[in-house]
Amino acid sequence: MQVPAPVEYERATTVDEAIALLERYGPEARLIAGGHSLIPMMKLRLARPEVLIDINDLKDLAYIKREGDELRIGAMARHRDLLESPVAFEYFPIFRDAEQVIADPIVRNRGTVGGSICQADPSEDLSAAFAAVDAVMVIRSSSGERIVPSIEFHEGPYTTAVGDGEILMEVRVPIRPGCGSAYEKVKRRVGDWAIGAAGACVQLEGDTVIEAGVGLAAVGADHFRALGAEDVLRGGPATEEQFAAASAAAAAGCAPVSDQRGPADYKRHLAEVLTLRALRRAAARARGQE
């Protein structure tokens, strides 16, 4: 019977309380939100925190809103909230694309945006989506708040910039005029991690790509990001040839590993195919065609 090892439980009702509890209990304490990453690991006894700090009552962090020229997503926004959010969809359809293929509807009721990106599984879709839209993460501790760009937020597999005594507060996404975004994922079955996935965000001025972001999941791209692909696109024409060249660069720049989802050559191929599809749709959306 897979059940967790003994653990203590605390519940935080405010952010400050959560931080205070983290400081009180030290690194053997973990925040728990949706719990759909942490609890399965605890059941397998791969994770053995001594204390769980339940932050599900932090409803203040469960928002998705536009503020100035940013879309702001509170860390406690559930996957379902992001999927259904009209304001998120209006500016960044990439999030709906991604959420439609993250886990399943029941898990999406509980899993949170913050929980998923903090768990930082290399196949985690929102991490790739946030990479594509050049998001920044807001982290708070007792000494204040700091802002970390997503490329620095994701340090490596299962490792983020959130340190001891810190809590992720929100993700901010810059809203730029002329933007379109999209996400493409291939998986063996609904609910599975990606075999490969790509997110793209392009900002067009006429037929020129002013700014571009390409995020990749599950293919070993550093920080979930395809910088090489972005370099190809930036300042260039928004054409099929350019997108193809960028996709090739995305594939060349990732480092997929063979596993039961697929061999490395297939994953690299997917990186290329899906980056191209995401770019096409992102551009079409930027042009108001989709």
Binding site: V3, E8, H36, I39, K43, L52, P105, V107, R110
Partner: protein
């Protein structure tokens, strides 16, 4: 630790280990065995029940996390001896065979209809896509939900 929650309309308080999974609390401590478990990795969905009005996989919730919240299980579907339309739909359309995934499927389908009273077949399939059935091949679960959508309850049922 002591945990208090409302289960099927009744307040319950029990002393439990914090690590006790909600599915085990409901089944083994409260004796409500209509909610089942079938996997270790939050995939199968036989443990679905309502927590604060949302279907959740109760194998992935620790009992204290449900403290102060409202839990509803399959045992709460029937009211005053009358089956919920979803239950009748499952009977009429042969939406169950071994019955093991059934309570969870009915809860998810009931929840879908509460938010979307006339779903398409694709929407029904999407709603249950996080739950596995080995017996029915899903077709009759879709038809059962369709039946319930076409035969809603005639009286207001207060939760």
């Amino acid at each position: 630790m002591q945990v208090t929650m409302t289960v099927n309309g009744e307040k319950v308080t029990r002393d439990v280990e914090p690590r006790l999974l909600l599915v085990h609390f409901v089944r083994d401590v409260l004796g409500l065995t209509g909610t089942h478990w079938g996997c270790d990795t939050s995939n199968c969905g036989t443990c679905v029940l309502w927590m604060d009005g949302e279907p959740v996989k109760s194998c992935t919730v620790l009992t204290p996390m449900a403290g102060g919240r409202e839990i509803r299980t399959v045992e709460d579907l029937e009211r005053d001896g009358e089956l919920d339309p979803i239950q009748q739909g499952f009977i009429n359309e042969h939406g169950l065979q071994c019955g093991f995934c059934t309570p969870a499927m009915m809860i998810t389908c009931r929840d879908l209809l509460d938010h979307n009273p006339d779903p398409s077949n694709d929407e029904i399939r999407e709603a249950i896509s996080g739950q596995i059935c080995r017996c029915t091949g899903y077709e009759n679960i879709v038809r059962a939900t369709r039946w319930a959508a076409d035969h809603p309850a005639t009286e207001e049922v207060t939760a």
